[in-house]
């Protein structure tokens, strides 16, 4: 394990997310705040699910292996459900924030739309989730050691990095899908997000059979990406055009009908 492993894994895991951040989030203060708050919400959900798991483990017999395994599975499922619940709570909070921003703005137009918020919130969730999964591994990768010396897989760091990357992306797309489902009252979109999250987490139970966990996760990620892209108003023409170098920049700011006629002010 060397610096090469450290840098390689960290860039694999966080490179795309960092790019997303740099190009779309850091310039706007409001988006940075939403990102950090999203990370915070994910953290709180993790805290609560860890609490539940911890209590369950302490209340059970530590020597009973199948029970511990079962508790772990329960912990994972509960954590996934709680994460989605907190995503919903965050949606509610952001909705209220948008109403506040609209009420306070001069032209009845919020400086940020719910779609942008969905994207940034998803990214926040993903970044925190990825950080919690990966940072300890990266710190260990800097130190001495041999991966898999006891018979485990030698690709541990690499696959963890790839898995982290896919989780970050997935959280971003799930955020978009989930918020869209909440906005348009299409509950099946939200159910699809929860379902997909459970599937992806469940697939990781096949580790170290990395073919079984990574490849389906990536396929799911591409599918979710396409779906989120379509829901955000994208179409294949735009995609082709952007690939050909014509960049379409359309800030999608949601216009709300002003609660009052600006002319009537004052």
């Amino acid at each position: 394990m060397t610096l090469a492993v450290f840098f390689g894994c960290s860039f694999i895991a966080f490179g795309p997310a960092l790019g997303l951040c740099l190009f779309s989030v850091v310039r706007e203060p409001l988006r940075v705040i939403i990102l950090v708050a999203g990370a915070f919400f994910w953290l709180v959900s993790l805290l609560l699910s860890s609490l539940v798991w911890f209590i369950a483990v302490k209340a059970s017999d530590p020597g009973d292996e199948p029970l511990q395994k079962g508790l772990l599975i329960f912990g994972v499922l509960f954590s996934v459900l709680l994460q989605e619940a907190f995503r919903f709570l965050y949606y509610k909070l952001l909705r209220k924030a948008i109403e506040g921003l609209v009420a306070l703005s001069e032209d009845g137009c919020s400086p940020i739309s719910i779609q942008q918020m969905a994207y940034v919130a998803g990214l926040g969730f993903g970044l925190m989730s990825g950080a919690f999964s990966m940072i300890n591994l990266l710190a260990d990768a800097l130190g001495p050691g041999t991966v898999g010396i006891h018979g485990d897989s030698q690709l541990y760091f690499l696959t963890s990095a790839f898995m982290t990357m896919v989780m970050i992306f997935l959280h971003t797309f799930w955020g978009i899908l989930f918020f869209h489902g909440c906005e348009t009252q299409r509950w099946w979109e939200m159910v699809a997000v929860i379902f997909t999250h459970l599937i992806v987490s469940g697939l990781t139970f096949w580790n170290p059979l990395y073919l079984g966990s990574l490849i389906p996760s990536y396929l799911l990620m591409f599918a979710t990406a396409a779906w989120a892209y379509v829901l955000s108003g994208g179409c294949t023409q735009n995609l082709l055009r952007s690939l050909q170098g014509e960049y379409l920049v359309q800030p999608h700011v949601q216009r709300r009908s002003p609660a009052r006629d600006p002319a009537s002010e004052g």
Binding site: L46, L51, W53, K96, A103, L104, S129, G266
Partner: protein, 500 residues
């Protein structure tokens, strides 16, 4: 000996975003619809957090219309919508911080609650419009300070070694029983906090009796010590860690330049970014000293106790900090400051203006710039390092405010004590959380969110608020819960390579 430092620097720990005093005469025509919208906004914002948003409104209106001097002067100093012209005049006259002049202006507002609300509506809008930017302006330096502290803790062994304790925490924690250890840490905390209180009161007394030279000299002495001695020790330890040899001549040259430029930047004038960098560095140095010399349990109890003290000292009518603020306002002087980090960038966006207005604008710009410098100068005075009081100055997030109409770049000020204690929390988490980075990350996010919430409360309540309680509470909660609950869970998941 460094208690005073912490005290001084720590005391400026209230944040206040002062809203533009777009005075009443600018928005006399705001309709009642606005007011209704404002109240609806309050409802929206506070629906979840408080049970009655009306309370917030009532509290504010009651504060606004209250005539009792402490309340009025304290909060008026920070919110006073006032005529821009009078503002300019006052600023020119006092040349001091915005707050005292605002205080005077604010007193005139007590009788106009309705217009206050209407104005506040616009101010509210401006606050939220500028609020996000201010939050980021504070996120960046706080993050930088924490990064420096965490990087040092993780790489330089010196700051995690146990090498004695401060005289303010005389009780050792090397006791066999848990109860004894807890008792010792509580006693240490009591001693520390009482020393801080005594020093703060001492400083308030000094200020009341106008012993400015004494305070001035004291502050210069303490910043000298910080910039030279502590930097020398820090540099020595870093060089030792990386096994880099440096001869005394080079060392002297480097430290002399660093210290001299630092003294000039902090106490006199200097480029804004350089000033900010120095303030961040000395906060980090101070935090490292605390992390090294405070025993474990004492550190956590002290953090909790200091945030409670901060809350009391800033919000209670008889709190020392509040009294200090009022004294400063009575004398129409800059609020007696400790080192305050300022993100003020003073310029205005060009716009079509009438001549008079633009003249007053540039005047205000100039005054604000002077203001900022003055506040920095003054704030340096209270940096006490030699076991002095906590600087009683609340972090008057006196935004270096340009009292002009739209499109101004306003800065936010945060006391260095806040930087120090945030960094102590995160640094302790990095040092003692059994090599776990998740805990550090969790504390970091918690503190940032606390800061964000404090600024939001500030924008809504428009009075000086302590910056420590919310962040430190979140930080402590997340530290203990992540270290004890999340870590085993994540470790188990990682060992099976499961992802949630």
């Amino acid at each position: 000996m460094w208690l005073g430092e912490s005290a001084a620097l720590g005391r400026v720990s209230t944040i206040c975003l002062r809203i533009s005093k777009h005075s009443l005469n600018i928005w006399p025509h705001i309709s009642t619809v606005r007011k209704a919208l404002y109240e609806k906004l309050m409802m929206i914002i506070f629906m979840n957090s408080s049970d009655s948003e009306e309370e917030a409104c009532n509290e504010r209106t009651s504060l606004i219309s209250a005539d009792s001097p402490p309340a009025a002067s304290y909060q008026d100093g920070l919110q006073a919508p006032e005529a821009a012209e009078t503002q300019t005049y006052r600023k020119r006259r006092t040349g001091g911080s915005c707050s005292p002049s605002d205080a005077d202006g604010g007193n005139s507002d007590s009788g106009i609650p309705v217009r206050e609300i209407a104005v506040d509506d616009k101010e509210e809008e401006l606050t939220l419009k500028y609020g996000a930017k201010h939050v980021i302006m504070l996120f960046v330096p706080v993050t930088l300070c924490m990064v420096v502290v965490v990087a040092t803790i993780k790489s330089v062994r010196f700051y995690t070694e146990k090498n004695g304790q401060l005289i303010y925490t005389p009780f050792s924690e090397d006791t066999p029983s848990v109860g004894q250890r807890l008792l010792n840490s509580v006693l240490n905390t009591i001693i520390m906090i009482s020393v801080i209180i005594v020093m703060t009161v001492f400083l308030v007394v000094l200020y009341k009796y106008r012993c400015y030279k004494f305070i001035h000299g004291w502050l210069i002495l303490s910043s000298l010590m910080l910039l030279f001695l502590f930097t020398y020790i820090y540099l020595g330890e870093v060089l030792k860690t990386y096994n880099v040899a440096m001869d005394y001549l080079t060392l002297f040259f480097v430290i002399w330049n660093f210290g001299a430029v630092g003294m000039i930047c902090i106490h006199w004038k200097g480029p804004l970014h350089l000033q900010q960098a120095y303030l961040i560095m000395i906060s980090a140095l101070m935090a490292l000293v605390f992390i090294k010399y405070l025993p474990e349990w004492s550190a956590w109890v002290i953090l909790g106790a200091i945030s409670i003290y901060d809350l009391i000292a800033v919000l209670c009518p008889r709190g020392p900090l509040r009294m200090l603020v009022e004294t400063a306002q009575e004398r129409n002087e800059p609020i007696f400051p400790a080192l305050i980090y300022s993100s003020a960038m003073v310029w205005t966006v060009g716009m079509a203006k009438q001549d008079a207005a633009s003249r007053s604008l540039t005047q205000q710009t100039w005054d604000s710039a002077e203001d900022v410098r003055e506040i920095h100068d003054n704030s340096a005075y209270v940096e006490s390092e030699i076991s002095e009081a906590r600087s009683p100055a609340p972090t008057h997030p006196t935004t270096s405010l340009l009292e002009d109409l739209e499109e101004e770049e306003r800065g936010v000020k945060l006391g260095l004590g806040d930087f120090i204690f945030y960094s102590v929390l995160v640094g302790k988490a990095a040092a003692t959380a059994s090599g776990d980075w998740n805990t550090t990350l969790a504390c970091f996010v918690a503190i940032l969110i606390g800061l964000c919430l404090t600024l939001l409360l500030l924008a809504v309540f428009k009075k000086a608020l302590p910056a420590l309680p919310i962040s430190i509470t979140f930080g402590l909660v997340f530290y203990f819960s992540t270290d004890n609950l999340v870590r085993p869970f994540m470790d188990t998941l990682a060992s099976h390579q499961l992802y949630i």
